[in-house]
Amino acid sequence: MGKLFFYVALALVLVSGLVFAPEHAGLAIHPMDQFTVKPLFGGDHIAWYTPTNVTLWMLFAVVAIIGLLVLGSSNRGIVPSRAQSVAELAYGFIYKMVEDVTGKDAVKFFPYIMTLFMFIVTANFLGLIPMSFTTTSHFAVTAILAMLVFVTVTITGFVLHGAKFLGLFWVSSAPLALRPILAIIELISYFVRPVSHCIRLAGNVMAGHAVLKVFAGFAGALGAGAFLPIFAITAVYALEVLVAFIQAYVFTILTCVYLKDALHPSH
């Protein structure tokens, strides 16, 4: 029933958008404006060092992480406070993931993986604040995160196993005739990993935020009928809260899976 209502609302919103869009000058929906990188202190030149809204929201992410993990745990309570139990939950969640997925010998990578997870999850949730800027919606950011993982995995694999790391691409359980073909496929999939790793995160976050903006534009244009878009915004927002966590989780667990290849390359 709720689902049906949602689809009806969606259809109405789309139809109304099609009907009203050309006539109303006010209905100029710019769903991508929220992603614009702007200098914080005016000016129109963005050099590599210019403090921008990217800088501001990354700073907020750092502050949030300090607040949760450092200040939250400052009491060192045997019986934890609320913030401390959340910090412990995050710690246990990622630690167990690294241990279970990658193996006990991967614990030395734990601070690195925890850094990735905490950054992505805080950036995603900060991005859900209205009027905020979502750093993880940019391919530049997620591509660097993915490339860091890719480079770490590749270097670790070669350092630990040398040329044997290439055995990852040589599927020794397959028939000999198939192995070169499989090797090519494995090689391609290995290099496609960072691409999918990066686009999955940025794409999900960007799409959700853009949809929210589109519905918000409809809500502004519809006036009295705005309850439908507002309902849709609420639903999409709830979904986005879920996506914010799930995408951080997916990114992290994939990092663990890729690291497992580097530490234990046996196929």
């Binding site: 100029a28 710019h30 991508m32 404006d33 992603f35 614009t36 990188v37 702007k38 129109d44 030149h45 963005i46 050099a47 590599w48 060092y49 210019t50 921008t52 990217v54 800088t55 990354m58 700073l59 992410a61 750092v62 992480i65 300090i66 993990l69 450092v70 745990s73 060192r76 309570g77 045997i78 934890p80 401390q84 910090a87 412990e88 710690y91 246990g92 734990f110 601070p111 690195y112 925890m114 850094t115 990735l116 905490m118 950054f119 750093t135 919606s137 940019h138 391919f139 530049a140 950011v141 660097i144 995160l145 860091l148 940025a202 960007m206």
Partner: protein, 181 residues
């Protein structure tokens, strides 16, 4: 290059024209984003690896240690409780045995006293009985004597009354003769 960036940004605001409407594909901002991202990641990594993670690990270890200690202490106390219960049961059994011993002893003592008292009483009773027998014998002897006197007197009186001569010797002899028989 820089003016291009801004044209693209404002262009998106005015009217979407093609892929330039997507700030994600505005490559002129990449250097800026990557620089600040790397700064952020290094800062987060340093905070986590130097401060937050060791502290949380220490807290978790400490809690684990506390729980283990508490469990050990509980185990210890439980053992102590079992020990105390055993000691209590043993003390109870000892006390019961002691009580029984005391009761038996007391009973024996009382029995001895009672026996002694009975023996004493028997002795007293037999002494009294002997005494009484002696008294009775005396009384009987006295009575026999009295019978002689009364018989003599009566005989004398009878003789006198019948007009005979009161011969004391003859009367005495007759009474003696009679009472002997």
């Amino acid at each position: 290059m820089a003016s291009n960036t801004h044209d693209a940004g404002h262009g998106a605001a005015e009217a979407a024209h093609g892929s330039s409407g997507m700030p994600q594909l505005d490559f002129s901002t990449y250097g800026n984003q990557i620089f600040w991202l790397l700064v952020t990641l290094v800062v987060i990594y340093l905070i986590l690896s130097r401060v937050a993670l060791p502290r949380i690990a220490a807290i978790l270890n400490e809690r684990q240690g506390t729980i283990t200690n508490d469990l050990a202490a509980a185990e210890d106390l439980k053992a102590k409780a079992v020990e105390a219960e055993n000691a209590y049961n043993k003390a109870l059994a000892d006390a019961r045995a002691e009580a029984q011993r005391i009761a038996a002893e007391t009973r024996a003592e009382i029995q001895a006293e009672v026996d002694e008292a009975i023996a004493k009483a028997d002795e007293e009773i037999s002494a009294k009985a002997a005494e009484s027998e002696k008294a009775i014998a005396e009384i009987r002897a006295t009575a026999l004597e009295s019978v002689k006197v009364v018989a003599t007197d009566t005989a004398s009186a009878l003789v006198t009354a019948l007009g005979g001569k009161d011969d004391a010797d003859a009367v005495a002899a007759a009474v003696a003769k009679r009472t002997e028989g």
